[in-house]
């Protein structure tokens, strides 16, 4: 779960929760912080700046991305990188921006009063996603994510995928037939 703290420039938490309510929920994992136009992850020293989408929307997108393709071995930054393209596209395409902003707003309404990120269990959030999985919004996010997440070379070793092998001479001397447990 990700908790959004209200930034100093006065961005409202999407769900309209008070800071006190947010704190009451506690956090699991690293907390994301909205600051200005960025989503920050102080614990892991990364920030994602938004240009078109609201930073709050981006923070929800990061949670949404994890709920669509949950891998407990992957840190939030990989999901943040994966959805960054939505912000870029929203900057060039007003219709796409509306699709994403409206889609996130709709999710928050469905998850009222606490909003989508306010739901503590993945199952609670996924129940809402099952209701919207046929929508253009969900399809746009998932369709992009299946490439933008799994095509990050940095995550391949986490899954035991070694990627390019030609420069290493293939696997002829590196274990193409090394299975021993059979």
């Amino acid at each position: 779960m990700v908790t959004i703290h209200q930034g100093k420039q006065g961005h409202e938490a999407k769900a309209g929760l008070s800071r006190r309510e947010l704190l009451k929920r506690g956090t699991i994992g690293a907390a994301l912080v909205i600051s200005g136009k960025a989503v920050l992850c102080p614990a892991n020293a990364w920030a994602l700046e938004t240009t078109a989408l609201k930073p709050d929307t981006m923070a929800t997108l990061i949670q949404l991305a994890r709920d669509i393709y949950p891998h407990d071995t992957l840190a939030d930054r990989f999901y943040a990188i994966a959805v960054k393209g939505q912000d870029t596209r929203a900057g060039k395409d007003a219709a796409h921006k509306a699709l994403i902003e409206d889609g996130i707003a709709d999710l928050d309404r469905r998850a009222a009063p606490g909003g989508y990120r306010g739901l503590g269990w993945e199952d609670q959030r996924v129940a809402h996603l099952r209701d919207i999985e046929k929508t253009p919004f969900f399809q746009a996010v998932r369709g992009d994510l299946v490439v933008s997440l799994y095509n990050q070379k940095e995550i391949w070793p986490i899954f035991g995928y070694e990627g390019e092998s030609y420069s290493k001479g293939g696997y002829i001397e590196r274990g193409f037939n090394d299975i021993e447990w059979l």
Partner: protein, 523 residues
Amino acid sequence: MAAPYDLKDDSVVVIIGSGAGGGTLGNELAQKGIDVVVLEAGKRIEYDEFINDEWDSFAQLAWLDHRTTGGGWRVSKDFPNLPAWIVKAVGGTTTHWAGASLRFQEHEFKTLTHYGKVEGANLLDWPITLAELEPYYARAEDKMGVTRTNGIEGLPGNNNFKILKAGADKLGYKECHTGNMAINSADRDDRMSCQQTGFCFQGCKWGAKWSTLYTEIPKGEATGKLEVRPQSHVIRIEHDTSGKVTGVVYADKDGKIHEQKARIVAVAGNSIESPRLLLNSASSMFPDGLANSSGQVGKNYMRHTTGSVYAVFEKPVHMYRGTTMAGIIRDEARHDPSRGFVGGYELETLSLGLPFMAAFLDPGGWGRSFTSALDNYANMAGMWIVGEDMPQEQNAVKLHAELKDQYGMPVPDVWFTDHANDDAMRNHAYKQGEALYAAVGAIRSFPTPPYPSTHNLGTNRMSEKAKDGVVNKWGQTHDIKNLFVSDGSQFTTGGAENPTLTIVSLAIRQAEYIAKEMSSGSI
């Protein structure tokens, strides 16, 4: 050394496409001293430029011109603009193919005879027999360096094969080995041996896998009788008032339109583009398209009954290491209707890298059920099902009624729905595949739906009688003597086997026929 031919030179044989059919035909004709111009829609990308990266390679090689698809198959829903995963580049889909090189079985040339009438299927016997094709299979196997033929050793088995073999033994399958692969197991034909790199589908960076790109084409060019013109996208075939074809109109890389005159035209653009081109060449004399008096151009589109089974084990497999498809079980390829379907299927090793596994394991899938499969990627083994599908007249490559390509020509609209026989076969194969992996300790298995088609067949089919098909036993169109079809669209039925070896064999045979007819002056 490559001979540049004049656009007005009407003595040349023009071949459209440079893959297994077109590239082979071009070299075979050039070796006989015949002047050949090969027009290839894609770029010339040499093998050292191939990319060991699934999406980057896809962008480099795949045919991504606009296409649409419909019908009951799941691909039309999951990949509405990607009915087929084939290549636009010199060498065509021989850059991307896995190398499996199997001969058809005797009965597969005579399916109507052996299977009888199957309701809803448009079965027909080929006008040729296995015996007629055998000498050409032998020449193709030698040309391509197929393992387990011509004294060529089999490839060593990788981890994915070892799992397949152990499971095959447990299930009592008898014919399981590392395949008949057009991939060098030792240096041969000035090409090096397989380095177990994986990425066979992304183009072999060693040149160990046979592709017309670095075998047939340079050999043909070395004769001075073959010119390959890349980035030359043919949009129409022209004919004269006698009904003979006279040349082809194509767009070059800048979109400039040219006409190349020709004595003979051979169409080898794969089973989507070839019928599309014939249909798009309609004229007042041939209002339904060229060579279409039968109405069969574009019909009977086949794509093999496919599917995959992936399974997760307790311990690592690393299935992506090594030759992708060097592993086969042939026991189910027989025709045995007691299984509840006609025809048969092969089981072949297969793997995808993580990016493509995510895209193809369960297209559209998400959530823990999906991601927990990928979490075990390193412990996964995989196999591909490839079996005979039923030709059906309504499965067809049509011209889209509204959408046009960059040259103003209607885009292809690919319609496919599985026949009940296809479904029964696939379900049988899923069951066998899952049982095989369970027998060697699989924890979970995944019956994975068909990918966009790699084996596209049948849309200009071969027939004894002109009313039943588009081409005769030589691939010559029934209607137009100097117009040939030289790719898998000639296939009357699909067999259970990967089609490339048969395409190459037919092209060698067709070259002999064309040379003979040219010297006798009949064409």
